[in-house]
Symmetry: C2
Subunit: 129 residues, 2 copies
């Protein structure tokens, strides 16, 4: 029964940036979907395990998910205001992480890299209205 899981995946695709499980759940209910919170959590986890969506933690420790365009390894540039997200590839960072790790005798190196900023729309003087 992957119908629910697909529904969750679709809900995620309709979002611009990263959304929390609770967000996805609320939005799905708003659109009339009959689904439970537990199922949303499990679907999101399954999707994440399968590499179908990316996960990261907010500053408050909440897990947020996003259906990404590419399957390949990449990072995110996230607007801290509106949540708009740009996927960025960073070969330089990958190499840097590897170098730093092996330089200190570490193996099986992984890394987490996220860039936050204020996008051009949000940083524009929107005081006119």
């Amino acid at each position: 029964m992957t119908a629910r899981r697909d529904a969750v995946h679709d809900a995620l695709r309709n979002s611009e940036g990263f959304r929390s499980a609770q967000d996805v759940y609320a939005e799905m209910r708003l659109h009339g979907a009959k689904i439970g919170l537990t199922t949303v959590y499990r679907a999101l986890q399954a999707l994440a395990d399968g590499g179908k969506v990316d996960v990261l933690r907010t500053d408050e420790g909440e897990s947020v998910y996003r259906a990404c365009a590419t399957d390949t390894h990449h990072h995110h540039l996230v607007c801290r205001r509106c949540g708009r997200t740009v996927e960025v590839a960073g070969p330089a960072v990958e190499r840097w992480a590897e170098a730093v790790g092996s330089e200190h005798g570490f193996t099986e190196i992984t890394h987490t890299v996220e860039v936050f900023g204020t996008c051009s729309v949000c940083s524009a003087p929107a005081q006119t209205g």
Copy 2:
């Protein structure tokens, strides 16, 4: 009354890697310190706010703290097994993050970069036991 806060800071200095508030609390109690969990949390937050300690989130969403050697901006290479932590400076990454951000019109760019691996001690064939 910064006595408690200093005690928390000291407790953190005695640790090799990142420790959670609960860890610090437990350790302090073991050493006979009279302090409450709430106070440990608040001290850790105050320390973090003042830039005295670094904070990051574990995969489980727990906040972990570390008294770092330098006040300047740096990142961490953490052993996922024993928690040993090496502080690393990465000018290349800083520049990369800035470049990526401005390239997409983002301003006020910040970033989180953490590198995980298995240190030489932990990756050694310790099967002899």
